[in-house]
Chain length 292, copies 2
């Protein structure tokens, strides 16, 4: 039987640690770390994520400053709001929930967030620091989903050095930072994507396989090596019948689970880790600003 990487449990452990840290921060500084959460419009999935993030932040003692803006908000007003938050000492992290409406340039908005408040780790300065630094250490704002994947891997207490890691997907949010993180853990790292030839056979060589494709149950047993470790980043909603739907990952769990040594489920794997890492980044941002 494979080990199931219980993201809920690992995320709770991280949140428990953060709760203690934040209590200590409150005692020492008489201040509460603050996370500004900006949502523009009412995309249903975004509302679900924002609600989950807000709830988790409050749980660990982070103060949430909520800005829910109308779909029609113009880009300048949004950037002006971000500038205000950049200058607000009660705000340590700023999160802009993606996607933004089409009339807004996502890149310009993300780049307007002060790098030291960049709770998602998407600002180019933080992306560059992540690439340059030799270690995955406390000084970095690390994109939340790949960082959550790394923390799940670390839970296994497996030596990552020299492991053959394959990342499926090359997005800025998951694939690229994931490859950077694994390289710093001294894995041999291959990034495969939609243009890759023989993708199946490359994945089949992986000791560690990270699936971030966005296609439901795309990775089946023919893609995985006996005894591999699988992290499933996908969150896809599929219809079961006219009335019912369910969430599945990018990996065909039922087929793959009997072949591997460890696998993260969907839901309950990477998802909860992403949220916990957002809280970690907010706390880290407070510490970097106030302890140095």
């Amino acid at each position: 039987m494979p080990r199931i990487l219980d993201g809920k449990k690992v995320a709770q452990k991280l949140k428990d640690q953060l709760k203690v840290e934040i209590e200590n921060i409150k005692l020492k500084f008489n201040r509460t770390p603050g996370l500004a959460v900006i949502q523009v419009g009412n995309v249903a999935a975004s509302s679900v994520y924002v609600k989950a993030k807000t709830k988790a932040a409050k749980e660990v003692g982070i103060n949430v400053i909520d800005h829910h803006l109308e779909e029609s908000t113009n880009q300048n007003d949004l950037i002006n709001l971000i500038n205000e938050l950049n200058n607000n000492d009660d705000v340590n992290g700023i999160l802009v929930q993606l996607p933004l409406p089409n009339h807004i340039n996502e890149e310009m908005v993300l780049n307007s967030i002060a790098p030291d408040k960049d709770a998602d780790g998407f600002h180019p300065l933080n992306v560059g620091k992540l690439s340059i630094s030799q270690k995955n250490d406390e000084s970095l704002m690390i994109p939340c989903t790949p960082y959550g994947c790394l923390l799940l891997l670390r839970e296994l207490n497996v030596d990552l050095v020299g492991k053959n890691a394959v990342v499926i997907g090359r997005s800025n949010i998951v694939g690229k930072p994931m490859a950077q993180l694994l390289l710093k853990e001294s894995c041999t790292v291959t990034t495969v994507h939609s243009k890759t030839k023989n993708i199946e056979s490359i994945c089949k060589n992986a000791d560690i396989l990270i699936a971030a494709i966005g296609k439901p149950e795309f990775v089946n047993k023919d893609w995985v090596k006996e005894g591999a470790i699988i992290i499933d980043v996908g969150i896809n909603r599929i219809k079961i019948n006219e009335e019912k739907s369910k969430l599945v990952g990018d990996v065909l769990f039922s087929e793959v689970e009997n072949k591997v040594s460890a696998i993260s489920p969907v839901p309950g794997g990477v998802g909860p880790m992403t949220i916990a890492c957002l809280l970690r980044n907010t706390t880290a941002a407070f510490k970097l600003k106030n302890y140095n």
Copy 2:
């Protein structure tokens, strides 16, 4: 017979283009793009590089502002000089020749260069932009050596999409940015390094092999696939006898050349490209500032 990737020739072609561009810039703006070259101390190899870079810059019509500082220069004075150059409108590119003396923190010095004058592309903001952008386009300051390698590859007029590329080495100067560039060309990219297991067999699967290890003639014929394309980034001086030495790459050229479809020699391969790309970055920096 393999195609020998003649870096001198390709670099000359790029320099000829830059020369025309710079003549046009002079006509249009009545100004000359300027490159500040800072050397601290007298490491022999650094002096050779600085001399070659200065000569090439003058050749294409770039104004070189030379700052050769004493070995004992302290870090603050160096950073103050960089700040002056950051604010000097006649300076479009700033190059700090590495390595710096041990008493100076290299990272702090490189980070003090204004990102829009960062001719080497080492500033974290430029590293982040390189990672994030979808294309290897004109808006980026791209580290010179990997960019030179990419231009050599493009000379072959081979479709890079889906090719299996392996980069040996994970330095910030070559390996990491090289992997980013190849990923954006839609190669499948693997980074291998000192901790990689079965490095030989991974390299032997490469359609494109980039060797940036720093070990003389390390890659022999058992590492390369029949018909592969080899780019040799290494520049190693080895002794032939008591009096004589010669430059060799990281690849055992004499053994490998008969097996591959194309290979870059050492010297005369990547080296001249690195210098030409420095001039390209300086010119690009002028254009980004003045054409937008």
